[in-house]
Symmetry: C2
Subunit: 239 residues, 2 copies
DNA sequence: GGAATATCAATTGTCAGACATATAAAACTC
DNA sequence: GAGTTTTATATGTCTGACAATTGATATTCC
């Protein structure tokens, strides 16, 4: 009951799917070179532009990379965390902006997932993570800071909190949840007083992590969640 | 210090990025029709094949859809949750298989995130979610079940658990973490005895959620995590 | 007049062939 | 032997064309 049945996909989509499946199935390992475009065209019995469209589809998903020149070609890409982050963030951002996800739902998800990191972060955070958090807190308390810069710093703070768990898979998962909310957070204008409150809560969290006190960090995070939501409610109500 | 600086990207990549930014910035709203390929080619001062490659890149990310015919063209796509799931799972699966993520790291992330859902799921799960979980538990206890089918049912169980939180953003985020682990989980062969134990823990979780007891569900999930990891250790050690 | 049908026009999908450009290896020069 | 030039191979891009799809329009028939 999928597209595969009711609508024959484009040739380029079919070819892309075929190659993608081979990669996922492990038939093509990382850094393996695909046949040249001309060879692929012959294999699939299509023209070179069609093959190229298929390869561009895969390149858009960071599944392959291409290289020009004599020893060039298309290679199975080693999917790096930054690549995956970037895709994750793009997708999450669009999902949030296109599906009328309420601020409440997004906040709830974000903080719930973030709390999942707290336990581990309290155990494992390095001095480096703490230093990053303190630095962002300092930046956030500067009076002249623009709203955009404040939000960006807020995100950097939470990234450090998440990274403190020292689990790259969790960092990757959270990147989407945290960063995708930036557009929503930017809609909430922070008054001087609410910034003060947020900074105070950030400090509480950093203190708790420094003391390796997961329970207290959790509590501060919950308070922050409730406060963020109340700010969001105010903004929604005033319109 | 990115590719944008040291390597001028392909024209098709530049054009794709340009259109993508316009979509993300909200300049192109959902279902808006993009100019025809010929018009885009003229606007960007490139040939049609180049424009087409750019559009295929966007189509691969489900950002646009194309339609043939007189009133056809490329339209900004409404990114649905299933679309986002699919991308999320593909990316996560590749990330796990290509980055030598240890089973320990992946398990840790998965269960930590899943525990984040438990609290909400205990409050909000519907009878429907419970029924799904019970049905999967029953299937898992059937003796003749293949390893693949057991793993698939395991995933379905955990999906129901996550969906019970009634937060689509969390469901989306968790889809990647849970399903991407299928290949890893398939590597662990389950003996009759370990299946029994897993089913018992699943039942405990279902019971706890039925009783809306988040603490007990949490505990059972933690036990399941520890048991899964010990099984993984056994498999690793025996090779 | 209204409905079924035929035609048309716009747009994407595909193709063939060509040239430009990048790049590493081979051949050449000193 | 080191440096330079050539060459082969691959991707990147362009031109031009035709096929297929599909909504809109005109036409025909009752």
């Amino acid at each position: 009951m999928k597209n595969s049945a009711n609508k024959p996909a484009d040739l380029s989509a079919q070819i892309a799917a075929s190659i993608r499946d081979a990669i996922i199935a492990g038939e093509l390992i990382v850094d393996a070179r695909l046949p040249s475009e001309a060879e692929l065209a012959e294999q699939f019995n299509v023209s070179r532009p069609t093959v190229r469209e298929a390869l561009k589809r895969l390149a858009a998903q960071a599944l392959i990379r291409t290289q020009r020149g004599a020893t060039g070609g298309a290679f199975v890409n080693h999917l790096t965390y930054p690549d995956a982050y970037a895709q994750q963030i793009t997708t999450s951002t669009l999902l949030l902006s296109m599906n009328e996800v309420s601020i409440v739902t997004a906040c709830e998800a974000r903080f719930a997932l973030e709390r999942a990191c707290t336990q581990l972060s309290a155990q494992r955070r390095s001095p480096d993570h703490l230093a990053t958090m303190r630095a962002e807190i300092f930046r956030q308390s500067q009076p002249g800071l623009s709203d955009e810069a404040f939000c960006a710093s807020d995100i950097a703070f939470h990234r450090a909190l998440v990274d403190g768990a020292q689990n790259p898979v969790m960092s990757y998962q959270l990147a989407g949840a945290v960063e995708a909310m930036q557009p929503l957070m930017n809609m909430i204008t922070f008054t001087a007083r609410s910034r003060e409150r947020i900074v105070a809560l950030h400090s509480q969290i950093a203190d708790a992590l420094e003391a390796r006190d997961a329970t207290q960090a959790d509590a501060a995070l919950s308070t922050l969640e409730a406060y963020t939501m109340s700010l969001a409610d105010d903004v929604m109500a005033s319109r």
